[in-house]
């Protein structure tokens, strides 16, 4: 069946009468002339007339035909596929649908993704029965599944109907690679690739024909620009973070929000809001220059401890999905630390617990730390109740009663934590006999005191893999190594106890910090002193954060130890879990509250949670099996990759260049949405043939008209 892209032009067929009218007017306009030899004119005319008339008729027909062909060419005729089975060769067509989150862009009547689906439907509907079609998305099967080339139209339409936009950025290289791979498997000579995208530049960076394994220049590439109206303005929240790494109850905290203006105009008085546990708690206005990123700050105070989830948002624009940024935060109540000072001294700097006391609670202006240390002597400790203590620290304690040690052991087993710092009062034989053998309060046997006065020993930074050191970046790990140890108690690694590990070593290879887990609690042993008797660690800046990290680690779990980049949708969440008896599976609730059981893996001796289903932005919850007051389910947030929020376009020419697509054709979105026939090369460029015909006729007409 012949159809027309611009049928309105067919009315121009009436113009074929023009040559006739001109001809008639021309004749009527013959000037009269009195002439004596009219007889000769008559005879001559008769003779020539026959020839002339034929030529005249031919010229008239040519001119009418020229007008008709021109009108038809303008009306853009097409041969529809439905005209018959063999109207053109069977073809294989891959439809690449951009489902990156930028296609959630809302246009007046629908989102760009909805439009993309409709266009995909049109492509399927307008194909022939003998064509094979496939579907692939720009997320390159991270979330979606591609449909390889099939003949079942209904199935493909059903896949299109089910399709949802992702929260991922586009990966066109991967998707194109997959598309060309699928097309390669087709036996049909005719191969087509439809790319339906909003032409946002993100995702095209690494695309080139050379990078596509089975690239085929014979594949005809058709591009549909979903952002035909060229609306690409967008603002996005790109980050939310808390200034403090540890947030305590009743302490004002600073929440920083970053917003990027992807428009070409400055934005004034943009409303930004902070929500915590679903409730708006703060609001402010922001001004952002064109193309710039601005930071705003909220102040908030948590009234109770626990995990909180929240988000910061800005006023919604046409791409609303990136107007929110999620976060989760743990608010801690005060950590009660009981310090048993085994060597008190009235001279403050000689006091064993002097540096420890101020490191745990420095009382810095504007900053309140949540660690609340209580310093007691060993004698006072004997009568101290342990049940409300979060962490117990022995600083150079020579001995304790067995009853108290037993109480300490019970305290640890029930989730308490003990840190033992060495010193001159820590006698290896006593500790081995009592602390280790009787009460299992050491990770290994202690040997002799090593005096390294001549060659100061440092921490071996290559061994600092434990989570407590995660906050120390490479520079700071460098500063960890600045501490020098003149003396330390050598641990016997051959006697390493069950559920024990070395967390840090010295450059001599001897352990510096070692841990032993005892049921729900743990013991940490430090091979050197907590004062400056045996080392200069207390005078180093890392002393305070190291102690805090250790306390937080013991009290809050490993997950919070890492300061990571915000997790993005599609990224894998890996968490080392601090579980004494790890189960085979752990439950994770996604951002929509849906629970999933995830198999736990092992990373050495530690259970490792590897969670891949981060498909939605939001706050996820990891449900721990052995909940205690200290160890409970924790949250983590997942957010969009902000790169996709930048909607600035890639040009069609650039795509053509990248794909070496000599046959790249741009199809109009608006026409396709109306269901107008897709004009493609295989259906024949009739209008070109018609225009060629007009040219040929013009030449013929010129020749005939001037022929003597």
């Amino acid at each position: 069946m012949l159809s027309f892209l611009n049928p309105v032009y067919l009315a121009g067929l009436a113009l074929t009468a023009i040559p006739v009218i001109i001809h008639l007017i021309h004749r009527r306009k013959a000037r009269p002339l009195k002439f004596p030899a009219v007889e000769f004119v008559l005879l001559s005319n008769r003779e020539v007339a026959r020839r002339l008339k034929l030529r005249e008729i031919l010229l008239l027909i040519l001119r009418m035909l020229m007008v008709a062909l021109l009108v038809l060419a303008f009306s853009r005729p097409l041969l529809n596929a439905s005209i018959g089975q063999d109207i053109r060769r069977p073809s294989s067509t891959m439809i690449l649908l951009d489902n990156s989150y930028s296609t959630r862009y809302q246009e007046p009547e629908s989102t760009r993704f909805e439009q993309a689906k409709e266009i995909a439907r049109q492509i399927v509907k307008q194909s022939q029965a003998q064509d094979s079609l496939g579907l692939i998305f720009s997320d390159n099967e991270q979330i979606t599944t591609s449909t390889p080339l099939i003949f079942d139209r209904e199935k493909l339409l059903s896949e299109i109907d089910k399709a949802e936009p992702s929260y991922l950025p586009a990966d066109f290289l991967g998707a194109l690679d997959r598309a060309y791979t699928l097309l390669k498997n087709s036996d049909f000579l005719e191969k087509n690739l439809y790319i339906i995208t909003d032409l946002a530049r993100n995702g095209w960076g690494s695309v080139s024909a050379a990078n596509i394994k089975f690239f085929n220049p014979q594949v005809k590439v058709y591009l549909v620009n979903l952002a035909e109206n060229e609306e690409r303005n967008n603002l996005a929240v790109t980050d939310v973070h808390f200034d403090q790494s540890v947030i305590g109850v009743s302490r004002p905290v600073s929440v920083k929000i970053k917003v990027k203006n992807f428009t070409s105009e400055p934005v004034k008085n943009l409303t930004s809001r902070l929500y915590i546990d679903g409730k708006k708690v703060a609001q402010k206005f922001m001004n952002i220059k064109a193309g710039d990123e601005a930071e705003g700050e909220f102040r908030y105070q948590f009234s109770r401890p626990g995990w909180y989830k929240g988000f910061a948002e800005i006023s919604q624009d046409n791409l609303s999905v990136d107007d929110k940024f999620y976060f989760s935060v743990r608010v801690r109540e005060k950590i009660k630390v009981l310090v048993v000072n085994g060597d008190p001294n009235s001279i403050f700097y000689k006091d064993e617990a002097f540096y420890l006391r101020y490191a745990l609670n420095p009382k810095v202006a504007f900053e309140q730390f949540i660690i609340s240390p209580i310093i007691v002597t060993p004698t006072e400790f004997e009568g101290y109740e342990l049940k409300d203590i979060d962490t117990l620290i022995f600083c150079n304690v020579s001995s304790l009663s067995e009853a108290k040690l037993q109480e300490t052991l019970n305290y640890i087993r029930q989730g308490g934590h003990l840190i033992i710092f060495s010193g001159d009062k820590v006698k290896p034989d006593v500790y081995n006999r009592v602390f280790l053998l009787k009460f299992n309060l050491l990770p290994f046997k202690l040997k002799e005191v090593v005096d390294t006065a001549a060659n100061s020993v440092k921490m071996n930074t290559t061994t600092l893999h434990h989570a407590i050191f995660s906050i120390f970046g490479d520079e700071k790990r460098g500063s960890l190594s600045s501490a020098e140890f003149r003396k330390y108690l050598k641990g016997d690694l051959e006697s390493l106890q069950p559920h024990s590990q070395v967390m840090a070593s010295l450059t001599t290879g001897d352990p510096f910090i070692a841990e032993r887990k005892l049921e729900k609690g743990s013991v940490l042993f430090f091979a050197s002193t907590v004062d400056r008797d045996w080392n200069n660690l207390p005078s180093k800046p890392v002393f305070l954060p190291l102690l805090h990290q250790i306390i937080y680690y013991l009290n809050t779990g490993l997950d919070e130890m890492k300061r990571e980049e915000p997790l993005k949708v599609g990224q894998v969440k890996e968490v080392k879990l601090d579980l004494a008896n790890p189960p085979a599976q752990i439950t994770v609730e996604d951002a929509q509250g849906k629970a999933q059981a995830v198999d736990l893996q092992m990373d050495g001796n530690q259970p490792l949670l590897v969670y891949k289903s981060t498909y939605h932005p939001g706050v996820y919850r990891v449900v721990l099996p052995d909940q205690t007051r200290k160890k409970e389910s924790f949250l983590f947030s997942v957010n969009l990759d902000p790169s996709e929020s930048d909607l600035s376009p890639i040009s069609e020419e650039e795509i053509s260049k990248r794909l070496n697509a000599t046959q790249l054709k741009i199809l109009p979105k608006s026409s396709l949405l109306k269901g107008e026939p897709i004009e493609d090369n295989s259906q024949g460029q009739l209008w070109q043939i018609l225009l060629s015909g007009v040219l040929g006729l013009m030449l013929l007409e010129t020749f005939l008209a001037h022929k003597d």
């Binding site: 021309h26 004749r27 306009k29 013959a30 000037r31 009269p32 002339l33 009195k34 002439f35 004596p36 030899a37 009219v38 007889e39 000769f40 004119v41 008559l42 005879l43 001559s44 005319n45 003779e47 020539v48 002339l52 003597d708």
Partner: protein, 298 residues
Amino acid sequence: MATRPYQSFLDPAVIAKLSHISLKARYIVEGTIAGLHKSPYHGFSVEFSEHREYVEGDEIKHIDWKLYGKSDKYYVKQFEEESNLRGYLLLDSSHSMGYSSEGKMTKLEYGSYIAASLAYLMVKQGDAVGLLTFDEDIADFVPPRSKLSHIKVIHDKLENLKPSRKTNISKALNDLAKNIKRRGLIIVISDLLDDPKRVFGSLKHFRYRKHEVVVFQILDKAELEFPFSDFILFEDMESDLKVMADSKAIREEYLSRIRAFIEEFRDNCRKNRIDYALFDTSVPLDVALATYLLRRNS
């Protein structure tokens, strides 16, 4: 034709050109000696010309006594001076002769000039010349006379000539043939746009009767060259015939036909010893006529 003094037909330039040229009869006419000459017998006349009243001094012998007997008045006879030649100028005055392209001289005017010039020439050399104008019939006839004053008569006729009616050359020739007793010189001045067979038949008739015939075919430059290139509705000047034609397209064919037509006449004239000359009205008359006469005399 606009009224103009008869002397206007005698263009000084033309006269100057023709003054030393004669129009000789080529063939022996009855009772005459060929060649230009003046009659030696001045006053001797065998041809009665006209009457006039007797005035004192006239010779008695010239008194027409018969007329006196009838009228009781004295009249003397005037006699034609005898000439060797009698010329008849047959001028086509049909509508088609009224054509002129480019607003210049019509064929009739051109022909009138020729007729006037020839009449002058012949009278000057002592020949008698008459004028006959015709269209589809004989329109007017002035019998041949050799008196100088006869030129005025001819010129008057020429002056008042208007193209009218259709052409029927053969009828005019046939009618004339019936009325001419003596052999003479017949000069036909026409565009000859008539049936060639009939025209020729009549011309041959004159030759058969031993008249000398000269044919001057006068055609306008446009008729000869057909300089048209657009769509024209050609309207015949002597009938209702109209032909719409693409003049550019038919030009070659027209020229071919008109040339063939002229050639046919020329050929037939030659075969029948009829002198033929084609006159193009765009060619100055003195040049055209002098050329012809010189050629004729050579």
